[in-house]
């Protein structure tokens, strides 16, 4: 006799529904990316998704797990999708394949699959690519309105799969903006120029830095912000991590900016530059690898915000969301342990670390 146990009713949310919401909410940001940087983004997403699903299916089979139900929980798809949004639009296809399959196999399944991984898979894949192929991974196109040679769909396809344009144009010539220079991202540009001894006031006259935080990028960030807010109000993600992350970023950058506004970027630049909003609402909020307590989520977010600004300012890489997320992933077990909420009927929060059970 097998009796089922209460509760006998449940609300209809499911993991795959949550994952679909996440994917859906990236659309505004994705449209902005496509508008400013061409169809390469879409092609990357397709390559990444196919790679993720094939890798996931293969490894599930190897691990003798049910393939179909887990494949369609959508988590592999989200990993692929987020990684594809983070990489440059014309990245050679095989790099995307390496990044995604590494993320699925080594960052996720080696730890025991969904729910057991310590590090954010998309960011592990991203960092692997960033350290292995630094040149390709920091080569972005100029935003559409600055480009001399806008990239068509066929161009993008050709660059990604062959390395040269549809009409045999080299990728370097495509990367030249209106002022005749190869285009870096605004963050990268600022970093290079600052190291050349320029002052911020001078750098900000460059075309790539117009607007809040550089042409195109502010719209991409606004897009991700809009989608992220939808997730937040749908309660797909908690509000603490994005709030903490943005607050940490503003606070840290404000301290630097106030000390020397000629040398350090303003909080508003940081907020809308690079992968800030994608990171705050879509990457740092990966529930598996983030802290799970309300207070822990605050600290987790704050940490990412602060570390991101520090690496962007003093580190060797122009953007730092990925590093900051991975660094804070390491602190999660400890954060969770020391930030337990007060249970009903208990007096004050006890320092559980002192208990002799350890």
């Amino acid at each position: 006799m097998s009796l089922i146990s209460s509760p006998f009713t449940k609300n209809p949310t499911s993991v795959s529904a949550l994952m679909l919401w996440v994917i859906g909410a990236t659309l505004p940001g994705l449209f902005a990316l496509v508008y400013f940087f061409g169809f390469g983004v879409i092609i990357n997403i397709i390559i990444a998704s196919v790679t993720a699903l094939v890798t996931e299916a293969l490894i599930l089979k190897t691990r003798r797990r049910p393939v179909l139900p887990i494949l369609f929980d959508g988590s592999a798809l989200v990993t692929a999708w987020l990684l594809a949004l983070a990489i440059p639009p014309l990245l050679p296809w095989w790099m995307t394949v390496i990044g995604v399959s590494f993320a699925i196999v080594f960052a996720k399944h080696v730890y025991g699959g969904l729910g057991n991984n310590l590090f954010n898979p998309a960011m592990v894949g991203y960092v692997l690519l960033l350290i292995s192929f630094p040149l390709e991974m920091t080569s972005w196109l100029p935003p559409a309105e600055l480009a001399q040679n806008p990239v068509s769909f066929m161009d993008a396809l050709s660059y990604i799969f062959t390395g040269t344009g549809f009409d045999n144009q080299s990728i370097a010539s495509t990367r030249i903006g209106v002022d005749g220079f190869t285009m870096a991202t605004p963050l990268d540009h600022v970093k290079t120029e600052l190291s050349q001894g320029y002052r911020l006031a001078e750098i900000e006259t460059h075309a790539v830095i117009n607007g809040l935080s550089g042409s195109g990028w502010q719209w991409v960030n606004l897009g991700f912000l809009a989608g992220g807010l939808v997730l937040m109000f749908r309660k797909v993600i908690g509000w603490q991590i994005p709030a903490g992350l943005l607050l940490g970023m503003v606070a840290m950058s404000f301290v630097l900016f106030a000390s020397n506004s000629d040398h350090y970027l303003s909080p508003s630049f940081h907020l809308f530059a690079g992968a800030t909003m994608l990171g705050a609402f879509f990457i740092a909020t990966d529930p598996v690898t983030a802290s799970t307590t309300p207070k822990g989520r605050w600290i987790f977010g704050l940490g990412i915000g602060i570390i991101t600004v520090l690496i962007r300012t003093f580190g060797g890489y122009p953007d730092a969301i990925a590093f900051a997320v991975l660094l804070m992933n390491m602190t999660v077990p400890m954060l969770d342990y020391y930030t337990k909420p007060k249970t009903y009927g208990h007096k004050a929060k006890r320092a559980t670390g002192d208990s002799d059970a350890d």
Binding site: M1, I4, P7, K10, G115, P341, T343
Partner: protein, 539 residues
Amino acid sequence: MERSNYKSEIPIFEFPGGIHPKEHKVESNQTPIRDIPLPKQLVINLKGQAGNRSLPVVNVGDTVLKGQVIAESDGIFSTHQHAPSSGTVVAIEKRPIAHPSGLDDVCVVIETDGKDQWCDLSPKPNTHNLQRAEILAHICESGIVGLGGASFPTHIKLKRESGIHTLIINAAECEPYITCDDRLLQEHALEVLKGAQIISQLYQDLTIIIGIEDNKPDAIDALVSARKELGLDGAKIAVIPTKYPSGGEKQLIQLITGKEVPHGGLPADLGLVMHNVATCFAIFEAFEYGKPLVSRVVTLTGEACQKAGNYQVPFGTPVEHLMKISEASNPGVLVMGGPMMGFELPNSKVGIVKATNCIIMAAPKELKHDHLALPCIRCGACMDACPASLLPQQLYWHAKSDEFEKAEEYDLFDCIECGACAYVCPSDIPLVQYYRYAKSTIRNQKVEKTKADKARLRHEARQERLERVKREKAEKHRKAAEARRKAAEAAGDDDTKKSAVAAALARVKAKKAEQDEDSATGSSNETENQETDNKGNDA
């Protein structure tokens, strides 16, 4: 669903978490409470209350009248059981019972004679003339237990007098499907309040607060007019927002007082005592008419039943009889209690007990069945839903990997098993099942540990005694040897003849001393042997 516009008469606080499942109340709360035709047999479970099983005082073949005591309370933590109808006792044996364990237990089976004839009742309508002890004794003898679901003997809950200042009547009825308290209030609010008045006599200056969810507008109206009729202006109606589990004792206290029952404590520690509406009604009937608790209002509902509604059901009525009455056909699953905290019945032959507030006769797909649980993604939806502010995701993690100490550190035992976490879990993990498993394993381990500790103490005591005996023996031999040596020395001084006599004397003396000591230690040797035997038996 319709919400009451009635404004709460006291400020309402909040409790964290909670969920809003589909209410499913209108299916059963539109019709008045109906009586049922008597079943042929009543199967009365003797463990119909929390605490000790009642002791049967009838034999097979006895004729019993309705309300007659058929089982007496076994010690203080128990109550009487009464015949729910007149008839003949045909069996006292183990039967399947309405209990989550699904195990059989002792039941008294009564074949009804259809007359439903009451025994002599002793009403005590003038409760003002009664002493505190008399009131408590009458409540105990009337077999009254908490009818909200836990079946805790009411007289025990009422025992503590000092420091109690507020009586909270729990009319929240937050579980979906269940409407028995709602209907009872709509039809008998006056009697319920009178019952509460009897309770208030047990204390000095007791404030009465009725906690009720705003999805019961008719019941609230009934309460307001009943209160007016009684002139019971001191009683306040606390209208709380509909949110599960607002009717949990700890949650209702938090809603009404803003305070938390301390960990390991009781509501009485905050000066509160809480009783369910149906319990108040039962107390009223026990004093006004002298009727012991022999039946209760039960909600029969679920998509499989055609005539859903509330019925006055004698205890021991088999569920299959209720299925016939409510015209239920092929239910997929039978649940006693609500869908959040109820349990599946082993079969339809079990009898209704005092805790049965609802039977859900669900259509095959109406209630959840087992399906594949996906991995936990630590989304924290469970944490947001937990009314006890626990971290269900961490509890699950530790319970699953048998790390019980960790689970206890995460306050596993503060979990009230309300099921809100499992309700919201996107991975469909049966979280509550893991917590029940961890709790029962920890409880068993503690029992085992106490046993092991006792055995260890016994073993250590035995080792010590053996050591002592060994020491005493060695000492005894040393003394004897010394005596012999002294005797030999004395002999050496005198001439040979004299010495030979002395030596013989000394030997006799030494031997005597030895014998004396032997008889002294002999008894302890015996007990030792006995214990070794006992040990052998234990093993």
